[in-house]
């Protein structure tokens, strides 16, 4: 068994296969009314990296050979994540998710609201299957993450209504911490608890996930503007065209002198015609380089990486046992897409 777990460490794709199998077996095709349940299967079939459920399983595997006991929790976290995507897509008026129509586009808004709600209940239903001994602590971590995700989405909505130069990088980090990384915190903490970790170690594993999540999100911002199209697999500069208030923009407005600031705000408060798109991307990117934003962003990413490494060091396990978390960190940080 121990050997198998070692192999799993080496092949995180195997963990993903175990999870995907569980996800397939838990489909809603037999449930009625089908108008309510079809969108659940549709949304879950769109795929994705499954970072959150894998975080649950990896965290569990640090403390226990019995990874399967964490599958209901992994599934609960993935359900919650997908529920929040369904509702966010309505709020953000997004038509496409992973190359397919979003639920409210394929069906309608009412279906997206209600099917999302049902998915949310099923998240708790699966979480409730955890052993009674870990249930209260796991629920508490899950609730904290779920509330954080709602607060993060509201803060994101509030940001979009504010002028970019009125938002600070601290506020931006607080927002992505809530909107994205608090669920990785919850996922890792719950996985560790299910594996039998002490409360203290579970908290450390969770904090590792939180800091890794922030670094991951900041790297997303980096790659969208400074990445390599061939590797990222989509057009570079999408955030700039969408006038998104990323870390890059906020930091640039903090550092820029008056003339550059006015120019940047002008670019980022207007839509451009199709012919002008590349010129806008080039111009804004040049401004970012001038202000040394790539270096600033790398410093910020390193800060959260280092915090994650500190959390890792504090976990009371042998270095060999901790290796999967270190591998995960390297894998996510060295990615170029």
């Amino acid at each position: 068994m121990q050997l198998l777990i070692q192999l799993l460490y080496l092949y995180p794709t195997m963990l993903k296969q175990i999870f995907d199998q569980y996800l397939q077996d838990s489909n809603y095709s037999q449930k009625e009314p089908q108008e309510l349940y079809e969108p659940l299967d549709y949304m879950l079939s769109l795929g994705g990296k499954r970072i959150r459920p894998l975080s649950v399983l990896i965290a569990c595997s640090l403390f226990s050979d019995n990874i399967k006991q964490a599958l209901p929790a992994a599934y609960a976290v993935e359900l919650f994540h997908n529920f929040s995507l369904i509702h966010d897509d309505i709020m953000d008026n997004s038509d496409i998710r992973r190359g397919k129509p979003t639920v409210h586009k394929k069906w309608d808004e009412n279906t997206a609201i209600l099917s999302g709600d049902a998915m949310f209940v099923y998240a708790y239903e699966h979480l409730s299957k955890l052993p009674p001994a870990v249930l209260p602590a796991a629920l508490m971590a899950f609730n904290e993450a779920a509330i954080g995700v709602c607060e993060g989405q509201q803060k994101d909505i509030n940001f979009e209504k504010r002028l970019a130069n009125s938002v600070t990088t601290e506020e931006y980090i607080d927002m992505i911490e809530l909107k994205t990384s608090i669920l990785i915190y919850g996922a890792m903490k719950i996985g560790a608890l299910v594996g039998g970790a002490s409360q203290e170690d579970a908290e450390r594993v969770g904090l590792f996930g939180k800091n890794l999540g922030i670094a991951f999100q900041l790297q997303d911002d980096y790659l969208d503007t400074f990445g390599d199209t061939a590797k990222v697999g989509k057009r570079i500069g999408g955030d700039i065209l969408q006038n998104k208030k990323t870390y890059l923009v906020i930091k640039a407005l903090e550092l820029a002198e008056e003339a550059s600031k006015v120019e940047l705000i002008d670019w980022l408060t207007h839509q451009v015609s199709l012919e002008q798109e590349q010129a806008k991307i080039d111009k804004v990117t040049a401004l970012f380089h001038q202000l040394e934003i790539p270096k600033e962003l790398q410093t910020a990413i390193k800060k959260y990486n280092d915090l994650a490494l500190e959390n890792l060091a504090a976990i009371e396990l042998s270095d060999e046992k901790k290796k999967p978390l270190l591998d995960l960190l390297h894998q996510l940080m060295e990615r170029e897409y």
Copy 2:
């Protein structure tokens, strides 16, 4: 203490006061971002009969003198109910709730979606405060009720798209069982569990609540058409004017001969002008009387009342202990509003 509980039995308004105090103390005015939390306090301040949280407290009081231990569960059930109202109001396009603008009218749809979601998480957060010994069973009952409410809302939406004469009374009862009474089932079962009831007794108390809930909903249908305006406090015939597919309509279409059926369908598929409203109400009500619908409906109400009494009889408590449930049943059934 026992005397106090007896007094509480006699004065359910006192239970409501205890609950309302808890609700006031649990407000969200200190939480950020306030755009997310203001609608929660607004919605909860609109009042209501608080039947669901009172069901939790009454069920708990059957088995324990310590009613306060059930307050987090009572609050969780009320939060879930209000969350479902916020989202239902979007789906049903309702502008007014308890005489005030609905959340999506006072703010906007995105706010109503996201604040509803946050309210939903807080329902689980408060439920999670229950003693670990009853938590798994209470969660299971809550999840079952929550899923039922979502399925019931979807079935209601489906009904509205179907022709009235294609819906059976069995399907209608199934829909109101899910949409309304399954939450009273969950409320009573959870309250009994918190009070220390056996699984069997908790289930019986829950089933009592479920059957009472169905009878209650059918009586709502009855009073809306056959009630007394002065007592009901609103215009009689509102359901008829809104062409609602109530038990009355469905039963009438089951019983009517071809000519009456055609006439009824004609009335119920058209909106009438203001001047014709009373004529429509009078004509449809006369048709109902002709088909003896009041008697049919009273028979159906009695059926669920009797089932509730059977559930009550099976609970392993003295008659004296069961009295609050019997009082509740009489109170709800003898109401004329």
